[in-house]
């Protein structure tokens, strides 16, 4: 006896009867979505690291030897007035040496024979977050260097530039890969549903002759496409989580930075939904317009 509505009955029956082909299609969809997810995963973490950078980012302005305390105070006051400056900290030559000794305590003896302090006093200038970008850091560094009493600048511009560059490259690659793989996912589902639609053309003809509307005919195919996409998304998600687990547990022993990786939890819901949407879209394209005359 028929207990479930016809479209669902037909969709479930078809999914079960073609289980091996459907499983392969699901894996193909899952593999494509996994690649997109891994790209997003990389981008997400890179963005997270880059987001934290402005909090710690500072420019070091090394002062000229022989600069007087009064000149130093004037310089500090002038730097503080700049709109891009959040905080200025003066580090004297003595403090710099003490910090260095502390930092290299294990090999501190190499400094013992030194007659004279070779370090310069400096200003540690922390920038406001909105000014931490490769282009503005470069501009600010040039501006600071022109101030009287400043000898040289260590701007860390390269770090900001590299992170921005990597982030941009990953984003471009991510968008390109996402577009290609999205097309791939839709095409895989399109082919699967088109093939099914072709094999069921006699059944579809019967339905048309019995007075079925286009949507009555479409529903089972949309459900089948949706189920394939949804499970593709779920398997893709499991694959992504397996990769995350491998990176943060197994491989982090050799590369401790991997412990900092975070799993983007939004994809737990998003990926199956994206799979579902692609599945339904692929099926809609495959079925096309249903004609009655």
């Amino acid at each position: 006896m028929m207990r479930i509505p016809y479209p669902m009955h037909v969709a479930l029956q078809s999914i079960w009867r073609e289980k091996w082909i459907n499983l392969l299609t699901i894996f193909a969809v899952a593999a494509s979505l996994l690649m997109v997810t891994l790209m997003y995963f990389a981008l997400f973490n890179l963005d997270r690291f880059a987001g934290k950078l402005p909090e710690r980012f500072s420019i070091a302005a090394y002062l000229k030897d022989g600069i007087t305390p009064q000149e130093t105070d004037e310089l500090i006051a002038r730097v503080k007035k700049q709109e891009y400056v959040a905080e200025v900290k003066f580090i004297s030559r003595e403090q710099a040496l003490a910090d260095l000794k502390k930092a290299i305590a294990d090999i501190g003896s190499v400094l013992d024979g030194m007659q004279e302090n070779p370090l310069s006093s400096s200003l540690e200038i922390r920038l406001k977050q909105e000014y931490v970008s490769a282009s503005s850091v470069k501009k600010i560094a040039a501006e600071l260097k022109s101030l009287p009493g400043v000898d040289s600048i260590y701007e860390g511009e390269k770090i900001a530039e590299t992170i921005a560059h990597v982030k941009h490259s990953v984003m471009v690659a991510g968008i390109a890969l996402f577009s290609i793989l999205s097309f791939g996912v839709v095409f895989v589902i399109y082919s699967s549903v088109k093939n099914l639609f072709y094999r069921k053309r006699d059944d579809i003809e019967i339905l048309k002759l019995l007075g079925a509307t286009a949507w009555f005919i479409r529903w089972p195919f949309l459900m089948e496409g949706g189920v394939i996409g949804l499970f593709g998304g779920v398997f893709g998600l499991l694959g992504a989580y397996a990769c995350f687990f491998l990176l943060t547990t197994q491989l982090s022993a050799e590369l401790p930075i991997l412990r900092l990786l975070e799993f983007p939890h939004a994809i737990v819901v998003a990926l199956p939904l994206i799979g579902l949407a692609f599945g339904i879209f692929g099926a809609i394209v495959a079925i096309g317009r249903i004609r009655f005359s």
Partner: protein, 220 residues
């Protein structure tokens, strides 16, 4: 109910039906007869819009060619029950599921579907085959399933294309009796057949077709 006015149909430039003028009233039982290729099947196909006329006008209840839109065709077909010569049963569905299809297409609740299908199968004496698949049934039984499917939703008109074509005499008589019962319940029935025995002494209208023309009308 059904009206053809100067209807003509061509396939690849060849005329299949010519200048057909015909009126079938509500509740009539009409036989369309003629040799193979006379245009009987095409005549029926024009009624359920599987074919469109090249010339003329056709009215089926509230539907009117050529002004009818393509999207109205499913609605027209829901008011017509069709008994196909080649059955057109879905072999992956049981007898119950095949007969239930027109009701599900109309969105009938499942509870009502069950009782309505059982009633339709009772009319064609097939209640005991409710869970069988079409391939396991004889030709006569399959034909009765098709008839049950055609009448299950109480259509305005039932069309039958050579309904006894592949059946032996005794089963053919049973099938004809079922059509007479359907007609007695007030449904308009149009049967296309080339078997004279089907309508002989029936006391019903018989329309003769030959090479796409109506060549005569009589009472059988």
């Amino acid at each position: 109910m059904i009206e053809f006015k100067n209807v003509a149909k061509y396939y690849d430039g060849q005329s299949v039906l010519r200048n057909i003028n015909l009126k079938i009233e509500k509740g009539e039982l009409v036989y369309i007869t003629g040799h193979s290729g006379a245009g009987k099947s095409t005549f029926l196909k024009l009624i359920y819009a599987a074919e469109m006329p090249e010339e003329g006008e056709i009215t089926i209840g509230d539907f009117h060619f050529p002004t009818m839109k393509e999207r109205e065709i499913p609605e027209l077909r829901r008011s017509v029950g069709i008994v196909f010569q080649d059955f057109k049963l879905k072999n992956d569905l049981t007898v119950f599921e095949n007969v239930a299809l027109p009701l599900q297409i109309r969105g009938m609740p499942e509870k009502e579907v069950k009782s309505t299908v059982h009633e339709a199968l009772r009319k064609v004496h097939l209640r005991h085959k409710v869970d069988a698949f079409p391939k396991t049934l004889s030709g006569g039984e399959q034909q009765r399933v098709v008839i049950a499917r055609a009448v299950v939703a109480n259509p305005l008109v039932v069309l039958a294309d050579e309904p006894t074509g592949n059946l032996d005499e005794e089963i053919a008589q049973d099938i004809m009796a079922i059509f007479r019962d359907i007609h007695l319940q007030g449904t308009t029935v149009v049967i296309a057949t080339h078997f004279q025995d089907m309508f002989r002494r029936s006391g019903r209208r018989v329309i003769r077709l030959d090479a796409g023309n109506i060549i005569g009308e009589e009472v059988g």
